[in-house]
Amino acid sequence: MPVDYLPILVMLIVVSAFAAIALTISALVGPRRPTPAKLSPYESGMPPFGSARRRVPVKYYLTAVLFILFDIEIIFFYPWAVLFRQLGWFGLIEMALFVLVLLVGYVYVWRKGGFDWD
């Protein structure tokens, strides 16, 4: 029932208010004496060179893709898990087939070095 979820909305409002108050206090109370050296990015004392918004390795993207595909698997697992008693052998076999197909992909990614971080 949607009304069961109303408390979560209340919680959301309370925590947002808390975060907003904390951020406002920190903006209001502290002193404000900016200097160029203070505002420049920290690079272990060396003068910073180049922009920090540089391109990042493609590895991160690969990890995120693998995460999406396995995350979908998880979200299929949850309803299956709560229904498992009713589904019995039938449930076990259908999920085994589903995972088997994914495992082929998993092995392929493994063989291609998709899980190795060089």
Partner: protein, 338 residues
Amino acid sequence: MTLDPFMVMLLDVLVKAIVIVVALLGAYAYMTLAERYVMARVQVRIGPNRVGRVGPIAVLQPVADAVKTIFKEDFCPANADKIVYTLAPGLAVAIALLAWAVIPLSPPLTIAGYTIHFYIADVGIAALYLLAVGSLGVYAIVLGGWSSNNKYSLLGGLRSAAQMISYEVSLGLALVGVLMISGSLSLVDIVEKQSPIWNVVWQPVGFVLYCICAVAETNRVPFDLPEAETELVAGYSTEYGSLKFALFYMAEYINIVTVSAIAATMFLGGYQGPFGLLPGAHWLLLKIAVFIFIFMWMRATLPRFRYDQLMRFGWKVLLPLGLANVFATAVVMVLLGR
């Protein structure tokens, strides 16, 4: 005088939400202190002693810390994305707190005909809610790192994000076994069904798996790569100061309490005592405290993983282990006909 039951419900929830936020704020403050003492003890040092080493005065240390943090300058680095830079710590702490909406703290109590439930919401999808909220935590870190306009921050944020998403899969899988046994996603149901025997008895592998993933999710030692001081300064929070930094820090500590509470709820019977003894919030708090102590102990003793080891461990060891655990549970359940 009659009260609208709906308004009473709203007020009830509002009070509970505020109490939980304040309690977690206090827990954060004293965890930082406790951690410094634990670390000092392990490393044979005295530990924090400016405010006072023993006795009631030592309790004021977090207050001193808080006052100091609040009155620090709240700066925004040059060329930073100001809006995202400000938003990220708030997001981090808000998401860390949100998980507490579904964790049951104690059995219901009836006083003068009014039943008080010690949870904010008992919803049918609670376990999924935890995963969903947890998956949003990545944003705060990646955005904090990106917006600071600092190479260390960006790399720290990205590393952290990649690590969190890698272990999230195994974390989700580790809980599947518990859900199969309980046949419900509601945390209240899950706790109630552990009355004589805790789930950890049936799901030892799931429990260990969950604990490992939980440490990785909270970016703690030995998985604290994102803020590996020797490589990345302070990771995604390098350019943060004042309360903004404190908020990131707070999010980290609240996440520790949260994953401990989830571990206790899912595997160790939540507020149930051993053998059904005197169920109540004290059991849950005790279990959480033990977990937190282990977190600190690990921080003081264990060395750090290398990043490639960490990723390989997550994808090549934990993920297959999690899948195997799910199917082993399934086969056993079908064979026993339960």
